[in-house]
């Protein structure tokens, strides 16, 4: 891949030569080696290579973007001609800008090449262990891949970034079956820098598989109540995703965010701190620069309950007058608390251990509701039984302020690090 940043710079020159005033080029090469297992058996070896070239141009505030997966001269020329047409047809918006000059940098993390034999060995061992340890568990799909991504970002202000990231990624989807009883499916997605550890040790995978085998017989909760919900690290990511959707460009530019006037205000319990750390050493995933061409940094979004930053891009910041975030979000981490998980369970009078949440798209007012999946009923400090047909409802704004406990323990899935959190005041309804 050496020399590709020079090629990327040539694209900028070619765009400018067409008369476009400001140009941005993002070139991505992806090489993936992927082993698939279906129904517990290795079934497919997939090797793919792809390239993606995104060109953005701005003239008199009018912007266009085009993406192709070719780099030959003819394709580039055709794309630039189409880009000129798009810009001519566009509408001037002063917020259409490109990143200012920054020092050139090269970044690299992880392995460029997969260890194919070790991939096979690890996957095979995982399948065999799962089959012997959890005979009632059906591995619907297991995908182990190694992906290497080479990115080259340039713009006409002289930004010149290059990065290589290589990581292994594991996705496991499973269901347990005992006679005619079937559990809900569950899944885990984990990333790691190398294959030094057995696959089942990644993230919370083994705990989830063990839980699945307990979930072939479920009970319905009688009636409705307002109680505590302990949200697991695997389930917490979805709620964080919902929260951060209120902090991004679209919600703030259109002024529909429930947090639009809350910067610097208390929006959560003071024990809650949420970070976005795309360049954290402890994560296999992440990124070194943003899609609009800024070197990425780590940030604290909620600092001990106070909303510390929005997640505005350059466009969003110019459009709203707010500050541009130091990253594009993602790679979220919540600080651990001081309570042991077992103590958290003991403190619940009546509630649910929420392990997966199948919910509707979050409403613009923060209301959420959905089904508790792979989850357990808790009463008088004890986990009683796995539940079915149980719905959870609440409002995100209220939820963040109703933290009761945060666990000492956390789970790192390679892309995020979350603890268990007990929230109060959640509506739980059964039959």
């Amino acid at each position: 891949m050496s020399g590709m940043n020079k090629v990327s710079k040539l694209y900028i020159e070619a765009v400018l030569e067409s008369g476009i005033q400001k140009a941005q080029s993002s070139l991505l090469f992806t090489r993936k080696t992927e082993l698939n297992a279906e129904s517990g058996n290795i079934s497919l070896l997939r090797t793919t290579e792809d390239v993606s070239l995104s060109l953005t141009g701005i003239t008199e505030g009018r912007k266009g973007s085009i993406s192709i997966n070719k780099t030959d001269r003819n394709s580039i020329e055709n794309s630039i001609a189409e880009l000129v047409e798009m810009i001519d047809a566009g509408q001037a918006d002063p917020a259409n800008e490109i990143a200012e000059f920054q020092q050139s940098e090269e970044f690299s993390r992880g392995s460029e090449e997969p260890d194919m034999d070790l991939m096979y060995t690890r996957l095979n061992a995982f399948l065999q262990r799962s089959s012997s340890r959890y005979p009632n568990l059906l591995l619907e799909q297991v995908i182990l891949d190694h992906t290497a991504r080479y990115r080259f970002f340039n713009n006409s202000n002289g930004v010149d970034f290059t990065s290589m990231r290589g990581a292994y990624n594991l996705m496991v989807m499973f269901t347990s079956k005992d006679g005619s009883n079937t559990s809900s499916f569950n899944y885990a997605a984990v990333s790691f820098p190398d294959l030094s550890e057995e696959l089942h040790t990644a993230g919370g995978l083994d705990r989830l598989m063990q839980q699945s085998t307990e979930q072939t017989e479920t009970q319905m909760i009688e009636g409705s109540f307002v109680g505590d919900v302990i949200i697991t690290p695997e389930c917490l990511g979805g709620f964080v995703h919902t929260l951060t959707s209120y902090l991004g460009d679209h919600s703030l530019v259109t002024q529909v965010s429930i947090y639009k006037d809350m910067l610097g205000e208390v929006i959560a319990d003071k024990r809650l701190s949420l970070h976005s750390r795309p360049v954290a050493d402890e994560l296999a995933g992440g990124y070194f620069f943003t899609s609009d061409g800024f070197k990425a940094g780590n940030s604290t979004i909620i600092d001990r309950g106070v909303l510390n930053t929005f997640l505005l891009s350059l466009y969003g910041s110019l459009k709203t007058g707010g500050s541009r975030a130091v990253n594009s979000g993602g790679n979220y981490m919540i600080d651990p608390g001081d309570t042991d998980f077992s103590e958290m369970v003991k403190s619940v009078k009546k509630g649910v251990l929420l392990c997966r949440f199948s919910g509707g798209n979050p409403s613009s007012s923060g209301e959420f509701s959905g089904v508790a999946k792979n989850s357990y009923y808790i009463e008088d400090g004890e986990i009683k039984y796995p539940v079915s047909e149980t719905m959870i409802a609440g409002n995100l704004k209220d939820l963040l302020k109703s933290v009761k406990h945060i666990s000492k323990q956390t789970v790192n899935d390679g892309n995020s690090v979350f603890p268990w959190i007990t929230f109060g005041g959640v509506t739980v309804s059964g039959k």
Binding site: E49, D50, V51, E85, Q141, G360, S363, S369, K373, S429
Partner: protein, 459 residues
């Protein structure tokens, strides 16, 4: 996409092999409060090959489509299959060898509309909204086009070309209410390129007017009473029920993976009023939203009657699952991008219409809900489902009452379908569906209105 005589590469095949050239083209224009914020297009094209040896699959792809690249992906796919076979030694038999040939081109015969004219179209719609509906706090108009063009040959003798486009306009309207902003959106359009789907902006105004009326009612909406209730699911929710809650449990790969439907073949799983079909390309004499004539394994695509008169009758198959289950492949194998291997996917999944009228069904409910639009849906191997509901109304004494705030419904589909007591005679399709199962892919979902008992969430 440049047409290529792929047959000249057939002599490079070693055992069962598929060779596919594909290009996906997208275009997106978005206008937020009168400002063109999105103005982009993309093209993703390349070649892939998949090879089968003794029960093991090898797949390889390349964005390049010259002679050398095509030969390379065939060789790499074959090597990958050989690598796995040498380790796994499954010793399975050859796959079913059905084949089909044909060309299916749904591209426009009209002159292409320029980018400027597309943007002007979207701006005219936006202008109509802003001038007519003064209470809106924000509005978004998006026009999205996707062209999927494929060429395929297989070692079994299949040879197919298809070009299946989709054009959708999304109108999202927001008003402020005491509890915060309230939103509603409509997806307009379907099969076809922009030139065929969007003739003039005013064709969309009736649906946008209706959307605004619903939005104002929703802004004064109430939470439903949580718990099991008599409900009428309109076509949008019936479609997502067909796809998510039943359809996925009857995809043969998920049946193998533990779906509860594995135990239900030839058993009564629904009211005798219920018939559910995954249509390949034509339903009730009309072309479906996502017509599939030959799948990406070269199998002729056939309709799959999943439930007939309440009895589970069939799963959806690719070649490999059909061999395992001892049935004929149904043509359900599809890949989204050239670099995606074909996996079992639904095509156009719908409940068949019944004989009741929607009005009669509403009048028959003393105390319940009429649920009209969904936002998203998820289902489970148990057939337990959850759908977001973004538009619904109370039914009191046979009449529509107050609108509902956003909520969710849930249930166990194979139990819930046994509570169906009426199905309307009118049917409509959701033309904008995308299904995510390893890869995203366009699907059609449809149905009539269904009267049944559903667990509704609320506070």
């Amino acid at each position: 996409m440049e047409r290529n005589n792929l047959l000249k590469y057939a002599n490079l095949f070693s055992g069962y092999t598929e060779l596919r050239l594909q290009e996906n083209r997208t275009s997106r224009i978005s206008i937020v409060d009168g400002t063109v914020m999105g103005n982009s297009s993309s093209s993703n094209s390349g070649v892939s090959a998949r090879s089968y040896k003794g029960g093991s699959w090898g797949f390889a792809s390349s964005p390049e489509t010259d002679n050398e690249a095509i030969e390379h992906v065939i060789e790499a796919a074959t090597e990958n299959a050989v690598f796995l076979d040498s380790h796994l030694n499954k010793g399975l038999q050859q796959l079913p060898a059905s084949s089909a040939e044909g060309t299916w081109d749904y591209s426009t015969k009209k002159a292409f509309v320029s980018r400027k004219d597309k943007i002007d179209f979207a701006r005219e719609v936006d202008s109509y909204i802003s001038q007519k509906f003064r209470k809106l706090s924000t509005r978004t108009v998006v026009i999205h086009n996707l062209d999927m063009e494929k060429q395929l040959i297989t070692s079994t003798g299949s040879n197919a070309y298809s070009m299946v486009p989709r054009s959708i306009m999304y109108a999202m309207l927001t008003v402020d209410a005491p509890d915060g902003p309230v939103q509603l959106y409509e997806a307009i359009g379907g099969l076809g390129q922009f030139e065929d789907v969007f003739v003039k902006p005013s064709d969309c105004y009736r649906q946008i007017d209706s959307l605004y009326e619903h939005l104002l009612l929703k802004a004064e909406g109430v939470f439903p009473e949580p718990g099991i209730s008599q409900c009428i699911l309109d076509a949008d929710l019936a479609g997502i029920l067909a796809h998510e809650a039943i359809g996925h449990t009857t995809e043969a790969d998920l049946v193998r993976g533990g779906s509860v439907a594995a135990d239900y073949m030839d058993q009564t799983v629904a009211s005798s009023l219920v018939t559910l079909v995954d249509f390949a390309h034509t339903a009730m004499g009309k072309t479906c939203p996502v017509p599939v004539h030959i799948d990406d394994e070269g199998t002729p695509a056939e309709d799959v009657t999943i439930i007939r008169d309440g009895v589970l009758k069939s799963y959806m198959h690719n070649r490999e699952s059909a061999m395992e289950f001892g049935v004929t492949p149904t043509g359900n194998a599809r890949g989204y991008s050239f670099s995606d291997e074909p996996i079992i996917r639904m095509r156009n999944t719908a409940f068949l219409p019944g004989t009741s009228s929607l009005q009669e069904m509403i009048e028959s409910v003393d105390n319940g809900y009429y649920l009209v639009k969904s936002s998203n849906g998820q289902a489970d191997s148990t057939s337990e489902f959850m759908f977001g509901v973004v538009l619904g109304y109370e039914i009191k004494n046979g009449k529509l009452g107050r609108a509902l705030k956003d909520t969710t419904i849930s249930g166990v589909a194979f139990d819930m379908l046994k509570t169906v007591t009426a199905i309307s005679g009118e049917m409509s399709w959701n033309n904008a569906g995308m299904c995510g199962k390893k890869q995203m892919i366009p699907v059609g979902m449809g149905g009539p209105a269904i009267k049944c008992m559903v667990n509704i969430g609320g506070r």
